[in-house]
Amino acid sequence: MQFGFSEDQRLLQQTVREFLEGECPVAFVRGLWSSETGHSPEFWAKLAAVGVPGLLVPEAHGGLGMDEVDLVLLLEEAGRAALPGPILATATVAPPLIASLGAETLAQRWLPAIADGSAVVAVGHPLSPFVTDANIADLLLLPSGDEIHAVEADSVEAVYQPGNDPSRRLFEVRFEPSAATRVASGEVAQRLTTAAIDRGALGCAAEQLGVGQQLIDLAVRYACQRKQFGVPIGSFQAIKHMLADVAVRVEYARSVVYRAAHSIARDVATRSVDVSAAKVAASDAALAAARTALQVHGALGYTWEQDVHVWMRRAWSLDLAWGRNAWHRARVADAVIDGALPAATFGYAAPGTD
């Protein structure tokens, strides 16, 4: 029993944090909002050089062959930087999904390209009518009935659905499913879809930790600078207590998210419920942080010019991505109350389970 990260894992987190501070300042994030694709292949290539998209790609396919416990801290940094780019689908969901399809040609074609940053993969799933980043994807993994299909960019029609977070571009995607595009069906497809949703939701949860922390940090910085009645507004208890409350929420979401990463990496029986609990905790914390950060910034926060809404929008869009909050809450409730899925009480063993 050791609930913590290794020095190497913390070091990699620090490396990625410094990389993002240099390469992904908020001006860069906002710059991409007005670009045509919302994507910077140059930035993505640099991120690949640091190892992020290839982290889950097996070493045999040119990746680092690491696991979700290694990745979770980096996703937290991605949230802190409001990183634009397909990190959830391409770096978090696609590599294990492609590796599990048992289609060696597909794996050889796409996994090394994910690792070196030259390919973007979009992943659709039955919980959402939209596919994020379909406009920049080279490969799309899409659901059709109880099947999963792998479709290349030139075979899909993607209709842009402008949304509230200009960094996360949503599309409705149409394609012709065929035997040639089908990569999984039936029970296998169902199992892989659940695993993909679990990874996507873990990714959202981890990003939300970073988003929530960043919103707190922005609000604290502002509350220390802004003076009213002759003193910094951060000296008022009304401000202190609001921020303390969101600090509690983010702190208590953190260990839940880390446990979920561990549950996926080890594929434990309670994986899906652990992930849903993480998505709910982290998303609720980030949403609360967004509300509070806006309130602390006052009218200034309500402007387009001030940066706080960059992270507010991310908190809102991640709350919907990879299973809405209500879907994940219901998954936990069904498991805990009805026993629909395995759910364990951590450490503490309930009577009758021994």
Partner: protein, 389 residues
Amino acid sequence: MELRYTPEQEAFRKEARAWLAANVPSTPLPSLDTAEGFEAHRQWEKKLHAGGWAMVPWPVEYGGRGADLLEWLIFEEEYYRAGAPGRVNQNGIFLLGPTIMEFGTAEQRARYLPKMASSEEVWAQGWSEPNAGSDMAAIQATARIDGDAFVINGQKTWASRGAYADWLFGMFRTDPDSERHRGLTFILVPLDAAGVTVRPIEQLDGEAGFAEVFLDDVRVPLENQLGERGQGWQVAMATAGFERGLMLRSPARFQNTARKLVELYRETAAAAEPVDPGLRDAVARCWMDAEAYALNTYQTVSRLLSGGKIGAEASLNKIFWSELDVRMHEIALQLLGDRAELLPEAPSARGVGTWLDGFLFSLSGPIYAGTNEVQRNIIAERILGLPRK
């Protein structure tokens, strides 16, 4: 990161479970805030001590088991799982004990810890005074030095377990010219000393859980000082850290309540009358939060075992567990409907009264050990870095 127990930890769990199964009283003891219940709980502590389970993480020489904090968490899980009695000496074993280990002399450790572990001496807290509550630095009780003794005068209040305890710890002003946090000294006071008057206070549940303690020229030997003279505030902050943080409220307590709440929901939902549809979600959220608290504690313990320290983040804990505890009991009462107001002795209570007792007790959580508003100030100023003024 490795979230499985080692074979040694599993064996430890089995051993604890077996001992508790054989020794936990089959019927609940009377409330520890009655004279009879206090003694019954003291006897239970002696049994725990004789079995070697009273102070799992303490060194053997002080009456402990010499186990590490992870084993302590496992023991706590089994303790709540077994429905074992509340710890009558928690002020001693969870708060003062760790403080004496950190600040006490070798003589003090040998003098106080073994009798604390066996509950031969049960401790009360003496923090608050009538004019020093949340503003603890406003302490007025004095300790004047006269030869080889302190002469203590003043009044402490809300002294938990004060009605029946043997000893009291607290801060007293040893420098009469001092102000606020300076000039205070942490002193251990026997409650049977001449000049001590204890007046029990009835709590919200009608029992004497705390007391007023009047100190009138009470002579206490100088060696009862814990830590440096005039450094009482620093010693007290460490004690408060233990209280808000790790030791006082181990996660199993809340996981146990969450489990019972899930069971209560299942029973209620199975009955004919429809259940408020929002309560299903609320129950699941409580379960998730109790898990979150457990996970956070395991993370903290892992950090402490690799040399970390517990600091201001104890204030985050205190808010989280105290508000979760209130919420769980509020939801339970909503599930119970009309029977929620029945006391345990009501003929139709059929066990529901313990939820009401638990609810009343949970309401003290956001108040004791420093109100949650004080904790929010600590979080804002010491963790987030917001200005004091």
